[in-house]
Symmetry: C2
Subunit: 428 residues, 2 copies
């Protein structure tokens, strides 16, 4: 049997603790499957004294993750601290400089610094692996970079933030407001310290940008992801969508065309009966379309101790087995800089607005849409006691820019009370 | 860039032709992703003159697949001939003897000879890879042996024969008899030369036995798969199942418990609203349960030129990248021989029978069930003009052996016309 593979684990939160448990519980299984023992040499975390419910006595302790990354008895630096910059980045850079392979669950760091980190690692014949950074326990990085590697990928689509899906499905199931479910998610510890990362779509956008790099052979370009959060979704939107046979999901889409790479993370309406529409709670789903394979759908837990630790350990086991695929599926030096395509692919849109209750208001809106070349599939005005009237419009296919212009023109008529909500309808 | 990886492709049917197309269409993409060119040195098939719609002129031709396997300019022998024995097996053995890695889509060969082939390959430091043998384009072998390798797998469940799922969903959608849809599937070329391989559950059973080996670290044991086909399923079964909120699927289940390894491939009722219940047409779905990751669901095309060739090429690309995982996820020499567990895990059952139309018939059946300790959840007797009465019973949880004894006792009462159909209900 080959020499043991020695881990240095930086960060002992939920995922780090889960990883320690797997190493301890499955020592025999890991050795049988990889042909060598997987052991922990040293760990590092903010608080040494905290009771984490696992035995840590056998491992060396480092207060400084950089020192951990540089230890001679560490082969693989496992970065589970999180955060785009700061200690996670510094320690990861130190690990690469010290000749260590890296396994990380840190989507923010890779979304913002992945190109540089991958280049540095590959220049030193090291690997950086990040299965746990995208869609938790679902082996989607491996599916895309290895299992579907023979395909030209046409499109990636997915629900990749469990917290947002929890909020949206809970609002619908229990007829609650966004604020009420947001407060519940917060009390359950589902939200990041900065909740905008979740509900603003940033976390899911990070993940999408990583998958897009693998799928299209392009540099990670998080800044090009068009981001829109779920904060403006009301229970009325959810009910009206359901009325029409749709559910609202925070949906990520990345696709390559002659116009360039389009990446967007935004609330969309999807058919309630589709696999994406039926996704409940904190579950994640990724839908991959390849030219040879057609459509592959992957579904599983997107977060949590066990699922995320499962993904981290899969990366560790790959390294133990000598699997050394480039970080983004091909050498970082060969990744191209994609032109950013606008979201011009036409789609039907859901449009909700409040109209001032005066004669001719609805006619003005309809006229604006007609003048913008946008035809109306369905329109409903709801009865109301407020001074403003809720109006719902489903358009035929139009482009987002055309719709944006129409909305600006609507505002200019003076009949709008507040800003309309526009959601794309994806017929997945 | 490293030396080209040179393929010898034996078998130029649908999958072989699809593979040639990928090599020709995606030469740049394959090289970018693997770091080396993937080229075809030679091919072999039954008929040299057949027009397959691809250029083959640049490749050497061998009439004999054994000669192909032994060529000096072949690094990887790609076996796409099919058949458990005969030329496929002989040529695969020759390839291993000649020091070639093997990629195959042949589930029958591996289900019957996988242990010996893997042992021989591993003794020579060679790999055998078979992603295309299970669930077509879905990267389930990779998900199980690599992506979820940190998990103790509790259960594998899946729909892995697209033809059977096509027949069952078409019967329901168009209210057709089994015979009518079978004939259509035949005319569409969906059936194997020996259709029992499909509708008898054998093909799907082969696949299940391969996944079970990876999941549980056990020798491939196809003989231990309890097989039941879909030939006895009537449109009435499908309608009655639908009435109760279920769909009938040819469902494979493999699970390990203290009693041993249970492997079964049989028509089961699953909730119509579950992911498995909603699977339409020739699509495949595999549901994997691991102790850390929870449940992972994979869905995609289970057959066809593009999807299967995508899986074959993924294996080739793994070899090009230096990925050399053991055939069944751990060394063949370390696989254990599992004890075969009977299907004693209790479940509710669906029971359909024809009763002779005489007084007390139904009472006798109910008495037999009661005497066998099997309680009835629902029972329906349908109106009829025949001399026999259709009766449908859904039991509470019982074991298959107990149900078998009850059915034998029913037969002894003399009120049965024909043999009852008993289908397990899986609350997936």
């Amino acid at each position: 049997m080959a020499k043991p593979l020695r881990l240095g684990i930086a960060g002992l939160g939920t995922v780090g603790t889960g990883l320690v448990k797997i190493v301890q519980r499955h020592a025999d299984l890991l050795a049988a499957r990889t042909g060598r023992a997987v052991v922990i040499s040293a760990v590092s975390a903010r608080s040494r004294d905290k009771d984490r419910g696992v035995r840590l006595g056998g491992y060396a302790w480092e207060d400084d993750p950089v020192a951990l990354a540089q230890r001679d008895d560490v082969d693989v630096f496992v970065e589970l601290m999180g955060g785009a910059d700061g200690p996670a980045l510094t320690a990861t850079q130190a690990a690469i400089a010290a000749g260590k392979d890296v396994v990380t669950a840190n989507k923010a760091m890779l979304a913002l610094h992945g190109n540089e980190l991958a280049s540095a690692a590959e220049a030193a014949d090291l690997v950086i692996r990040f299965e746990a950074a995208v869609a938790g326990g679902i082996p989607v990085v491996k599916a895309l970079s290895e299992g579907l590697a023979a395909n030209e990928i046409a499109r990636i689509m997915g629900v990749m933030n469990g917290t947002c899906n929890f909020i949206l499905t809970k609002m619908e199931a229990e007829n609650l407001t966004y604020d009420a479910v947001f407060a519940e998610a917060d009390s359950l510890g589902y939200l990041e310290a900065d909740p905008t990362l979740d509900v603003g779509g940033i976390d899911a956008g990070h993940k999408l940008s990583l998958l897009a790099s693998i799928a299209f052979g392009t540099k990670v370009d998080f800044d090009a992801v068009r981001l829109e959060g779920i904060e403006k979704i009301t229970i009325e939107d959810i009910e009206q969508a359901a009325d029409m046979g749709y559910r609202i999901k925070l949906l990520g889409v990345a696709q390559m065309s002659g116009r360039g790479l389009e990446q967007r993370m935004s609330p969309c309406l999807v058919p309630a009966s589709s696999p994406l529409g039926q996704l409940e709670g904190a579950t994640n789903m990724v839908v991959l379309n390849g030219d040879a394979v057609g459509q592959i759908v992957l579904r599983g837990a997107g977060a949590g101790e066990g699922p995320t630790a499962s993904a981290v350990m899969a990366d560790v086991m790959d390294i133990a087995r000598g699997i050394r695929v480039s970080t983004f599926g091909q050498p970082a030096a060969s990744l191209t800089q994609a032109k950013t395509a606008g979201s011009n692919v036409p789609a039907p849109y859901y449009l909700r607005m409040q109209l001032k209750d005066k004669p001719g208001a609805l006619a003005k809106i309809a006229t604006v849409l007609g003048d913008s070349g946008i035809s109306i599939d369905r329109m409903r005005q709801y009865s109301h006691s407020d001074p403003t009237a809720p109006v719902l419009i489903v358009t035929h296919k139009t482009s987002r820019p055309a719709l944006g212009e129409a909305i600006a023109a609507m505002a200019a008529t003076g009949v709008l009370a507040g800003e309309p909500v526009a959601l794309r309808i994806e017929e997945v």
